[in-house]
Every structure is written in C-alpha cells, then in structure tokens.
C-alpha cells in the first residue's frame, strides 16, 4: 500500500483495477475525466494503451483508489513528470458514480499530493479541468490549489465550447495532509 487515508487507500494499479477500467472508461465518469470526451473503448484498445504506458513508465505514476473495505473505485496518478523542473500533472478518475461527492476523491487527492511532495520531491503539481466541472472546481478551492489561468473555449463538450481552467499547488503553499484532513473534517463513513 502506498497511502492509507481516511476513506480510501492508494494501492498498486493492478489487474483488479484494469478489469474494471473498461467499464469506467465507457461510463459517465469519462466525460469529466476526459474534459468532455465521450469514449467508446474496447478491451483490446485499453490493453494496448496500458502496455504502451508501461514502456514509457518514467514519466508517470499511477495508483488504484480503493475504499477502506477494499472496493476498487477509480484511479489517481501523476502524468508529465518533469524531473529537472520537478513538476507533474495530476490525474484522477473515480469511475463509480456512487462514490462521487462523498469525499473519496478528495481523500485520494490528499494522499497523492503528499506522495508528490514527500516522496517524489516535486515543487509543484498542476492540473486542468473544464469550466463545466463544478465538482472539481470546488475541490480545488477546498484543497488550496490556485487558479492560474483560464484558457478560453478550449474544449468542445456536449455541443458547446467551454473554458479550461489551469490550477496549481506549490509545495510551499501545502500545509501537509494532516492539516487538510482536519480542516476539511474528513471522517470515515459507510
């Protein structure tokens, strides 16, 4: 296990998760993850992508997210790791809609940020989301990310143009996971 949180744990992204990912990528969640993409992904296509990623593993980190009772609910990771700039782009995908808005994604995010700063020695982490995604925008604010810019009409999603929002968190702005857990009042739940 890589991180033990209040609601979830981060674990190796193994076969248990891969088996579910096909369903997740063809479900509603992908629209939010892929900033407006609506994909139709075959198992073969997915397996090919994952093999290619393994060949190119130095630039990324990926964890499975599972609840405290061991249910796999999604993935979280860091892409575009830049070793000498010490930056990385965060990516997260809770594939099971039943677990949205319950604090599970936020708990996983706090674990990942700790990993990025304390183990990978990154200086800053960043991500982008579309202006339709109120859930992630609220989460960014809660966790202390700063909005660094707005790329106007940068994604076409469900019949309209939407902005892409650029968020970042610098290491010297991060009070540490324990402080955030307390501030957000994250507690174990059923």
């Amino acid at each position: 296990m890589f991180g033990s949180g209040v609601l979830v744990d981060l674990v190796p992204y193994g076969q248990r998760f891969l088996d579910l990912e096909h369903g997740w990528l063809n479900g509603e969640g992908v629209f939010w993850w892929a900033v407006g993409g609506r994909w139709f992904v075959t198992r073969a296509g997915l397996e090919m992508d994952r093999r290619e990623e393994q060949d190119d593993a130095s630039g990324r980190v990926r964890f499975g997210v599972q609840t405290k009772d061991g249910t796999p609910i999604g993935l979280i990771g860091i892409n575009w790791l830049a070793a000498h700039h010490r930056t990385g782009m965060l990516t997260a995908f809770i594939g099971e809609p039943a677990y949205w808005s319950g604090g599970y994604g936020t708990d996983a995010l706090l674990l990942l940020i700790d990993h990025a700063f304390d183990w990978l020695d990154l200086r800053r982490v960043w991500l982008m989301t579309m202006s339709l995604n109120a859930r992630v925008m609220r989460q960014m604010e809660k966790v202390g990310f700063r909005l660094e810019g707005r790329r106007r009409q940068a994604t076409w999603a469900d019949g309209a143009w939407h902005d892409m929002l650029v968020y970042a968190l610098a290491r010297d702005e991060w009070p540490g996971r324990q402080v955030l857990v307390a501030r957000l009042g994250l507690t174990a739940q059923n």
Binding site: H84, G149, R151, Q153, A154
Partner: protein
C-alpha cells in the same frame, strides 16, 4: 508554399533538416524548448525527424511542420502546429528561428501571421494557443502583437539556467482574429535588407 513579406512557409524538407542539428545545439534551442540546453547528436536529430514524420500521419494529436525560408532563400527555422485536435478544432503553435542574426527583425512575426491564416482559413480552427517562458520577452511581444491574449501564468514552472521562470500560456480565438492583411497593415510589416 505560403508567401509572406519577409519569409515564406515551405515544406520542412532536406534543406531544413540539414540545419536542425546546428539549430538544436545553438542558443535558439534554449528559447525554443523553454530553458533546456540540449547537446544533441546527429543520430538523435535524425531519429526525431523520422518519429515526427510518423506522428504527422496520425489522425489525432499529430503535427504539421513548415520550414521558414527568408525571401533570399535562407532556411531560418521552423514553425508548426502541434497537438492538433480535430474536434476541439485547435492546436499549439511552436516556432523557432534558428539563426540568431535574424532575431528581432519581424521574420518570426511574419511566419506567425502565415500559420495563423493557415490554421483558421484552411484547417477551420476555432482557437490557437502557445506557451513560452516568462523570461522570453521576444516571444511574448510577438504573441501580443499578433493578437494573442495571456490566458494563464503558471508560476515558477521551469528551471532555466539556474532560475525558476513562469510558463505563460497565450490563446487566440478565431472570432478575435481580424485576418492576415489587417495585421500586416497594423504592424507595418515590409520587406527589408537581410543580415
């Protein structure tokens, strides 16, 4: 070929590929790569050129490369559309003038105007974007001059020559683009004596 006032955009062929090893090892690479100082072998350059050709054939996420040639026929550098997204109808402009004596003379600006027209009028782009280091004042001035807006400033993003520098992202929507002719006139671009 797209004909400008100071430069033409031409296929990125042999005449340019032969210069690329020198361009990637001189000062222009520092600005073109956002702060890297590359020490690149000929073999590596050739491998990248081959990969780029394969990449250009992909329907999504590919790139289109042009050589920038001065009116006197000198290969000056390259300009390209990268991360082309057909359904979001946008791409990222990358541009490099590999010959420092041509910097600050309007050559890159002229090339930008040509590729903007290509993206909007031929590829039906909705939006263009580019990014550069906070310390790259020349690129920022050029982007602003041709109508790009600063959309994001990512604080202390790059380590370049011992300094942390911002990453500045610029965007331009087609609805804000007045057309190439209007920009040529506004900027007062005209042919000049080459270095």
């Amino acid at each position: 070929m797209f004909e400008g006032l100071l430069v033409d955009l031409v296929p990125y062929g042999n005449a340019f590929q032969q210069q690329e090893h020198r361009w990637l090892n001189n000062e222009s690479a520092f600005w073109g790569t956002a702060g890297d100082r590359l020490i690149v072998s000929r073999a590596a350059v050739e491998r990248w050129q081959t990969e780029r050709q394969d990449d250009g054939a992909r329907p999504d996420g590919g790139s289109i490369w042009f050589g920038i040639r001065s009116k006197a026929g000198v290969p000056l550098g390259d300009i390209e559309l990268g991360y082309i997204s057909p359904h979001h109808r946008m791409s990222m402009i990358g541009v490099g003038i590999g010959e420092p004596e041509y910097w600050g003379g309007g050559y890159g600006t002229d090339a930008l105007l040509l590729i903007m027209e290509y993206a909007f009028n031929w590829l039906d782009h909705h939006r263009l974007w580019l990014h550069t280091m906070g310390t790259n004042v020349r690129m920022q001035r050029a982007a602003t001059k041709v109508g790009f807006h600063e959309e994001a400033r990512r604080r202390r993003f790059w380590l370049a020559d011992g300094q942390w520098t911002d990453d500045v992202i610029y965007g331009l929507l087609r609805q804000d683009w007045p057309g190439r002719e209007a920009l040529v006139e506004r900027l007062g671009l005209h042919p000049r004596q080459e270095p």
